[in-house]
């Protein structure tokens, strides 16, 4: 499979054809970016996140809706800052100019699933269940480091433990002008008795935010 960054193929072309750059498959770019990241122990990450979730639940005095909103907002804040890392890594990790850029919602969704989740969480994922207009899909994950060691007691059955992840995706995409909704379509923490359940995020495009021009002309 020559999805890897291959040597540019020479081909005869006329002067008015743009040069064709080798195509880097998103999965390959994702893996390449992951290689370049500094890494920390996933348990440290998972346990720190857990400590924060517990604190938020306690401070919300068991108001689970408030805790869920707080977790989503926190994730959103993280996502808005994650995008810088994403943009700089994808730029330097691929010979293909513009690799990892998201022109369409479809490209953005693929980027989240194949590049973003890999480079930050070392998780493989894919987009499934697309609607006809290509504005909605489900990102199915092969694992979730956030969920390590986690069991939700009955009284917290409605806790959106992974809400920060949904928020982060939403925040990151908003920085590249895709306004989306992200919800957990499948959360094994809420359905622990379902065997082989996967984490899955339902993502729906609300709008593509138009570029704002600073000058009124």
């Amino acid at each position: 499979d020559d999805g890897c960054v291959a040597a540019a193929r020479t081909r005869t072309r006329t002067n008015d054809m743009p040069p064709r750059a080798p195509y880097t498959k998103p999965e390959v770019l994702g893996a390449a970016c992951w290689q370049t990241m500094d890494k920390v122990n996933a348990e440290l990450f998972a346990l720190t996140h857990g400590a924060l979730v517990r604190q938020i639940v306690k401070d919300c005095e068991d108001d689970i809706d408030a805790a869920n909103a707080k977790l989503d907002a926190m994730g959103y804040s993280m996502g808005t800052r994650m995008i810088e890392e994403y943009l700089s890594r994808t730029l330097t990790s691929s010979a293909t100019p513009g690799a990892g850029k998201c022109g369409t919602f479809e490209e953005a969704a693929e980027a989240v699933a194949k590049i973003g989740l890999r480079m930050f969480l070392n998780v493989g994922a894919r987009c499934v269940d697309w609607d006809e207009e290509r504005t909605k899909c489900t990102i199915e994950m092969d694992g979730n480091p956030l969920a390590m060691f986690v069991e939700l007691p009955e009284k917290y059955g409605n806790l959106g433990y992974c809400n920060a992840l949904c928020g982060a995706i939403r925040g990151a995409l908003e920085m590249v002008r895709f306004r989306v909704t992200c919800t957990m379509a499948s959360d094994p923490l809420k359905t622990p008795h379902v065997p082989d359940a996967l984490f899955a995020i339902r993502m729906e495009l609300v709008e593509i935010v138009p570029e704002e021009y600073p000058f009124d002309e």
């Binding site: 992951w34 990241m37 500094d38 890494k39 920390v40 122990n41 996933a42 348990e43 440290l44 990450f45 998972a46 346990l47 720190t48 996140h49 857990g50 400590a51 924060l52 979730v53 517990r54 604190q55 938020i56 639940v57 401070d59 926190m74 804040s77 993280m78 800052r81 994650m82 890392e85 480079m119 930050f120 969480l121 070392n122 480091p145 390590m148 060691f149 986690v150 069991e151 939700l152 007691p153 009955e154 917290y156 806790l159 433990y161 920060a164 622990p192 008795h193």
Partner: protein, 204 residues
Amino acid sequence: RHRRDRVETIVMASNPLDLPPTPLGRGRSEVAAPAFALLFSEMVQYHQSRSLDISALERALEDAGADVGRRSYESTSYREKASGSKREHRLLPLLQFIQSSCWRSMFGRVADSLEVYDDDEYLLSDRDCLVNRFISVPKDLGDLNCGAFTAGFVRGILHAAGFPAKVSAYYSEPNPAADINGVRTTNILMKFEREVIERESRLG
């Protein structure tokens, strides 16, 4: 309550959910450092908005670290083949366990040194404390030492192991000869409760 095949649940102690046991795994999986840095930064901001001053913020970070340490100790000691999953019941072996196994599993390297200061005080030092390496403290938080989280981490381990102590973190003076990239050494000072010292001397 510890079951051999499942680490204690992370979200509140709860009634067992009668689930099939999940394998503990080898604890080598990783995530990107920026993911941890952003998470930690959110934690700092969250507590900052609820804290009256820097000390209160550091205490909140210590408490979070204690949560992490307590649970990390369970998984690390379970995995540690050398001890046969037994817990250390003497102080010095426990401290050496923390300096080597706990530090290596959580932070990727062993702590640089372990010193005795007094009969009830010990000092653990780390020249390149992971938490401080990836976190940059914003100017408005001036003196905040994110090593507080690491101090809490140690406190959590010590309490879980049955060796309660007061634990605090402080930076060494800058030392151009030893400091890596100008990062000062983080020192974790442990002052053990009287009962621990008395028990140690009874055990001889």
